[in-house]
Amino acid sequence: MRARILVRPKEGILDPQGQAVERALPALGFEGVANVHIGRLIELDVEDPSRLPEMCERLLSNPLIESYEIEEAAK
């Protein structure tokens, strides 16, 4: 399976990247954008998808400050 893992800054945790982009956009003429958050996108082929949650906890995300979501990606 091709898996897609979305890693996001946990709720309530400071997201300086998202803040910086949110502040930059209006100056470029893009108004009406809010709630910008920036995370990581990890895509991989995995033989045994049942192991994905463990991989996410141990390596792909930092559970202290990030949450993750696993999706099946279109090949």
Binding site: P16, Q17, Q19, A20, V21, A24, A27, L28, I38
Partner: protein
């Protein structure tokens, strides 16, 4: 000669660049929100972490009001010199070809590296000899120069590759050991190493001064003023 050093929020080597440039001429700071370039002969886009380098290094800075003036200045033939973060900004602004990616080590690296001057037919290395070695420090996390192969061939052919890391000195995985490139018109130049940190024997080498002296010499030529 009057050099303007841009100051973005998050610039770090702006004062260093100003002090280095002041060794060869007058040097002023240009605030990122101002469009007035104060009649400078050359612009330095300095190192640092403009806008925190969030998103991508240099991605947000290139939209600063002052950068509009810099783009005009460049298209009129004005000298623009991007160092490290400044190089990233100029690539993002499409004033220079290519892009800068994360070092292959994925780590920040500070190192005194040896550079090789590839060409001196531009205003930035005119006082150097081709093949000459320069000792200048690098310090960055995102310094791996990249452009597609066909573009690289074209760059080399047109003499736009100005500096390379000497063999064994490539600190970041840059393609073809490229450390510094100029635009086709040869008036915009960017490099990852920090010549402004190589201008005084007390604090390091003096090889970086040659680049600034080249700019000063160029600015003194009557043709350049036109």
């Amino acid at each position: 000669m009057k050099v303007g050093v841009i100051r973005f929020p998050g610039s770090c080597d702006d004062i260093d660049a100003q002090q280095a440039a002041a060794r060869v001429g007058e040097a002023v700071l240009l605030w990122h929100r101002e469009r007035d370039l104060q009649g400078v002969d050359a612009v330095i886009v300095p190192g640092g972490f403009s806008y925190g380098d969030y998103l991508r290094a240099g991605a947000i800075a290139r939209f600063a009001p002052v950068m509009e003036s810099v783009a005009e200045f460049a298209s009129d033939g004005g000298l623009v010199f991007g160092i490290c973060n400044g190089f990233q900004v100029l690539c993002e602004a499409h004033l220079l070809p290519g892009a800068l990616l994360a070092n292959t080590s994925l780590r920040f690296v500070f190192r005194q590296v040896e550079l090789e001057v590839v060409r001196n037919d531009n205003p930035f290395t005119a006082t150097c000899e081709p093949g000459e070695r320069l000792s200048i420090p690098v310090k960055h996390t995102t310094g791996r120069f990249y452009a597609p192969d066909d573009q690289l061939d074209a760059l080399e052919q047109r003499g736009q590759v100005v500096l390379r890391y000497a063999p064994g000195n490539n600190p970041n995985g840059s393609v073809r050991d490229i450390a510094g490139v100029c635009n086709e018109a040869r008036n915009v130049f960017g490099l990852m190493p920090h010549p402004e940190h190589a201008v005084d024997a007390l604090t390091g080498s003096t090889d970086g001064l040659k680049l600034l002296q080249s700019i000063a010499a160029h600015a003194r030529q009557p043709a350049a003023a036109a």
